[in-house]
Symmetry: C2
Subunit: 333 residues, 2 copies
């Protein structure tokens, strides 16, 4: 079934039918009604391939997710999609195995599909530097800042990771902790790792403590298993630690397990603070004190940025508020 079938059956020309379908002007009320009626009757659906071929754009909005299993991203997608569909846009999600090739994948996708917009959940700004020079569509990087890249179409929405990590660790220091371990990310890892690590370092230094990376830090991927193993190694190496700061909730969750496995309790023996405020930290036993990234806000803002970008707005770099939410995993010593 074709737009021509609709034209024939409704008694109008294809041009008029096309205009009617797309809500364009220069169609009489009479014609519009008749055409819509015939469309409904025949159950006609426009062919997106033909449409996008002609319009030279394609897939509504492409979302790239790197790091399957990052709970925060799962929580961002819902609101993001909701906001976009409310404006009549659709999204299509692609999972990327490895965060490092995100820009390459995106570039290929863009070349091939010409999406209207692109959203990156995770992925390090660095990798956009080389291979993402000419973005055709508005793009937004969520949870990392792309400000210093200053690419014309690449926006970002994120919290101030450094300040948040500083607050998290200061929280521990203020409660009397002096032997504090850090787990997650990696020293020469992406922006997020670096920023959070630097924030932690700063807070410690402000309290007269120098972070000994050799002894009190253990890197790992942002998955439960990573946190479990890294915290295990850290605890075995430095049993006098009274607190652990995990660079992400999933890491904290794994760390919690590792702590318990050694017969220690949280917060009795070691205090724990996470980062992200996913459902993991809300429902774990004990509940974990963490930095709240407002997933809903992140999702909605990202959607807005894309929408505005499609409307011609230039790239922006938003900082959304964060919050330290105190729960039961930190003890005053």
């Amino acid at each position: 079934m074709d737009i021509r079938d609709i034209a024939a059956k409704s008694g109008y020309g294809v041009g008029t039918v096309s205009r009617a379908i797309n809500g364009q002007p220069n169609v009489s009320e009479r014609a519009r009604e008749r055409i819509l009626e015939v469309m409904a009757e025949l159950g006609y659906e426009p062919n997106v391939n033909a449409r996008y071929l002609k319009m030279r754009t394609q897939t509504p909005v492409a979302v790239f997710v790197t790091g399957v299993g990052n709970r925060l991203f799962d929580d961002v997608i819902g609101p993001l999609q909701a906001e976009l569909v409310r404006e009549g846009e659709d999204i299509v999600v692609t999972y990327l195995e490895d965060g490092s090739n995100v820009a390459r994948a995106a570039a290929e996708y863009q070349l091939a599909r010409h999406p209207k917009g692109m959203v990156f959940l995770g992925g390090d700004p660095e990798c956009f530097r080389t291979s993402f020079q000419e973005v055709g569509a508005p793009a937004v990087l969520v949870t990392s800042s792309a400000e210093e890249l200053a690419l014309p179409n690449l926006s970002s929405v994120t919290i101030d990771n450094e300040a948040a990590a500083r607050d998290a660790v200061a929280h521990l220091c203020e409660r009397g902790h002096r032997r504090i371990g850090v787990v997650g990310g990696s020293r020469d890892g992406g922006q997020i790792s670096s920023l959070r690590l630097r924030g932690a370092e700063d807070a410690l230094r402000a309290h007269g403590i120098e972070l000994d990376y050799e002894r009190d830090y253990e890197p790992c991927d942002f998955i439960e298993a990573g946190g479990f193993e890294a915290a295990g190694r850290l605890l075995d190496r430095a049993p006098d630690l009274t607190a652990v700061f995990a660079l992400g909730d999933v890491v904290a969750f794994g760390a919690l397990r590792a702590i318990c496995d050694r017969g220690l309790t949280v917060p009795g023996d070691v205090s724990l603070v996470g980062f992200d405020d996913t459902s993991l930290s809300q429902y774990s036993v004990p509940r974990i004190t963490t930095i709240r990234q407002n997933a809903e806000l992140l999702g909605r803002r990202a959607a807005r940025v894309i929408l505005d970008g499609m409307g011609g707005a230039s790239a922006t770099h938003e900082l959304v508020p964060y919050e330290l939410v105190e729960r039961e995993s930190v003890r005053t010593v």
Copy 2:
């Protein structure tokens, strides 16, 4: 840039170029080499819109996920995608707000995009009955069985939910529990709820206990918050319960929290068994005894079914093995 540019520059016709690009026969080695060379030189990428318009097919494989936040599905997507890309297929994921409209969404998508294959993560077979009559592409339903629907192109891969639930509850009964509560799903909910509920009922009956739905059952959505609230209500109503069977790990996780909130311990005061074996039950404190659904196997099998279906195979209904994994949340009374 066009296929015609490649044709012109390489000195061959568009037909030959097209054949060379698609690895079809009837292209001399000489021509193929030259054409590939020119393509690389010009950085040419075929336009998928034009291609799919002509081929009358589109998006590689469409994946529909219903119920954001279901950890099991997150774990299935990775292996699914891995298997598919290994065969040169790509996937595109769409999140559906509400499980009930999955068939409608799929039908629309199919009409508009003509995907090569479709996979449904979650979604109840019932909703496919009416609106999914003529599937053009092979489709597979994961975690529910579509066997009784007997649709020509709709396959399914799932575990035997009823038997697994029976095993889970029997496990509790064999350890001396007589007052067992059940949380999650709903009585007139989808296939999964029904099957697991029936399995629980059967196991109880085999041990001389009749499940009192009014008193010992509390329905809820498959999210942490649901489990938390439902288990809370259940516990308040029937404080003499010594064990709880949750219809999903996320529900169990929420329930664990509710139990602890009431000053009770797991497994000291109440034993708990979950269902799915997501990372939640592996890392929680205590670790939760649960039914393992092998996410990787589910994902890989689903991919296989789609691949075979594209090769012309007809619908199959696979049952993959499950396993009761004993951890620390069940006590013998």
